[in-house]
């Protein structure tokens, strides 16, 4: 459904754009309907940049992003707007996603303004109510409130509801639960699970491996802007082939282990080299399991 092919992103930095900083290097993957694809990696690995490129909030330097075969990179405004009917995003910080001086339900109203200007008020209100109920919100408790009067979990659900008001096929969820507390987290996470049953593809960006394991069918591990390992969640987490993936998995704190226990031995990794050259190619090490390692 949504495909990325050899996507690169470099930023111009410095005076008059004299230097370049490459954030994403040669990334290719696809999301199928009804699938949650997790992108995992450390800070600065380029995972958020990928999410923003999929949402066309930043341009793609090289390569293409296609939705159902249609290249959407560098689309004009009207085509991009049509694209946003089918692809939407939810961001990390619920309190920054709402303009603090307006009521929170304005995010729903602007969707109507932009995409359904001819819909009748009563019909629209009914649709909003149904959608809010479907994400587990009580319309009476969240409508006509200011963002600071709602909790982070309510705000994030409302943003998911906003996306669902459109007939989306792909939802980009960029760290959407990292700012929520533990009890709300699992509800929002399960909500994402419900979305995939409706046939949505979800691009789930996270730094938390256990969340990725919990929710996703497939997982991508990124480092220094490139994919180091990808494939079915069970295979990548069960049998990590790349040293970085093994380190990452070893670093996850376990519930019954203390730091004073024998420290985890981390493997030596290649340092960050010239980011402008293509990263090591991915090799299929198993069915639906690729890793950037030599034979």
């Amino acid at each position: 459904m949504l495909e990325l092919e050899n996507v690169w992103k470099s930023y111009r930095v410095g005076a008059l754009g004299s230097k370049r900083l490459t954030a994403v290097r040669d990334v290719s993957f696809a999301i199928a309907p009804g699938e949650v694809l997790s992108v995992v990696g450390e800070s600065g690995s380029g995972k958020t940049t990928i999410g923003k490129m999929v949402l066309q909030l930043i341009s793609v330097t090289n390569g293409s992003i296609r939705l159902n075969g249609e290249d959407i990179t560098a689309a004009r405004h009207s085509r991009r707007k049509a694209y946003y009917r089918r692809v939407q995003g939810v961001f990390q910080d619920p309190f920054s996603s709402y303009n603090p001086i307006f009521k929170a339900d304005r995010v729903l109203e602007t969707v109507r303004e932009s995409f359904f200007p001819e819909s009748k008020r009563s019909e629209w209100d009914g649709k909003v109510e149904r959608t809010l109920l479907s994400v587990g919100l009580d319309p009476g408790a969240v409508l006509r409130k200011y963002p600071h009067q709602l909790s982070g979990g309510q705000l994030q659900r409302m943003l998911i509801a906003r996306a669902l008001l459109l007939d989306i096929e792909v939802l980009v969820a960029d760290e959407i639960i990292s700012m929520l507390d533990a009890s709300t987290r699992i509800d929002v996470l399960n909500l994402l699970g419900g979305l995939k049953q409706r046939g949505l593809g979800v691009l789930f960006i996270t730094h938390d491996l256990s969340l990725a394991n919990y929710i996703s069918e497939r997982v991508i591990i990124m480092r220094h802007g490139a994919v180091v390992e990808m494939g079915a969640t069970g295979k990548v987490f069960g049998d990590p082939r790349h040293p970085y993936s093994r380190n990452l998995l070893a670093s996850v704190p376990q519930l019954h282990r203390k730091w004073s226990d024998a420290p985890t031995e981390l493997e030596a990794l290649e340092p960050d080299g010239d980011r402008d050259i293509a990263p090591p190619p991915l090799r299929e090490v198993d069915e639906d399991h690729w890793a950037a390692i030599g034979p």
């Binding site: 005076a15 754009g17 405004h77 996603s97 303009n99 995010v107 602007t110 303004e113 932009s114 200011y146």
Partner: protein
């Protein structure tokens, strides 16, 4: 948080709250009253006096009386007529100069801050160049080249030179605001850049922008008075500054014609001072930490 426990005060909303506190802030009320009173005098006064304030109508150098409220000049011109016409010119210059500077400053600042990249660098360069230009020297040169200088021309010139600090401040603000997620969300809703600036970013800076208008307005009036006083004022009209310049040129201080220069001086001080007081008051309105409870 559920509906039941929300206190009513929060439901009023920020706008109503600001108006509420503004009307109860003595600085805002006093400042606005003085500015508005003088504005009304400037707008309606000229209809009741001679259309030509430079007309020689009465006895020379008479003190204020029932007939000539503010006396007459060395040449027998009615000072009150000059004063109300001068007030009108000052407000025109303030409005025009402040307005032009506001529009240019906002356009440059928002474009630079929101677009970023090369556009930002070029606009920032332009801003800095205009900022370091010695505005007074440039204005003197320009003003002395213009054969006929009117109030409008003066306002435009002042406007063209006083926008840079607005642009810089607006740019800095929009640089931070455009990285908020709600801007990204508005883009995902298919909004274009101008709509996002107008509907998402500007409302967040409304208090700041209001104060900018006030400061620009007062600054333009002050600058105009300065130009007038050094003889670069309008040649075809009377302004508060030219009144003071004329009174100085004909040694009214030595002749004791205080009614010639005190009213314009007081008026300029009152307008600019009241604007600044309003500004301080608004600061208290918009920043709850400064409010006196």
């Amino acid at each position: 948080m559920t509906a039941g426990i929300t206190p009513d005060a929060e439901v009023i909303g920020e706008r109503g709250e600001h108006l509420y506190f503004a009307l109860r802030n003595p600085k805002v009320v006093i400042g606005l009253t003085v500015v508005t009173a003088l504005l009304l005098l400037g707008v309606f006064g000229p209809f009741f006096v001679s259309a030509d304030p430079n007309e020689y109508i009465g006895p020379k150098s008479t003190a204020p009386s029932g007939e000539y409220w503010l006396g007459t000049t060395y040449f027998g011109q009615d000072v009150f007529a000059q004063f109300v016409h001068g007030l009108r010119s000052s407000y025109v210059v303030g409005g025009l100069g402040g307005g032009i500077a506001f529009v240019i400053g906002l356009s440059v600042g928002f474009t630079a801050g929101y677009r970023g990249g090369i556009v930002d660098e070029l606009l920032n360069m332009l801003t800095n160049v205009v900022l370091v230009l010695p505005a007074l020297a440039v204005l003197i040169v320009i003003s002395s080249y213009l054969e006929v200088r009117g109030v409008i021309a003066q306002g435009i010139i002042i406007g063209l030179f006083s926008w840079p600090w607005v642009a810089r401040a607006v740019r800095a603000q929009s640089l931070t605001l455009r990285n908020r997620d709600y801007v990204d969300l508005a883009r995902l809703t298919g909004k274009r850049a101008p709509q996002i600036i107008l509907k998402e970013i500007m409302p967040n800076m409304a208090s700041y922008l209001l104060m900018t208008v006030i400061l620009l307005f007062g600054g333009a009036i002050l600058f105009a008075a300065m130009l007038d006083f050094i003889g670069l004022g309008p040649t075809d009209a009377v302004s508060l500054g030219t009144m003071m310049q004329q009174s100085m040129a004909w040694s009214s201080l030595h002749l004791g014609l205080w009614w010639w220069f005190v009213p314009p001086g007081m008026a300029i001080t009152a307008i600019v001072g009241s604007l600044y007081i309003t500004n301080v008051g608004l600061d208290e309105v918009f920043n709850p930490k400064l409010r006196e409870m």
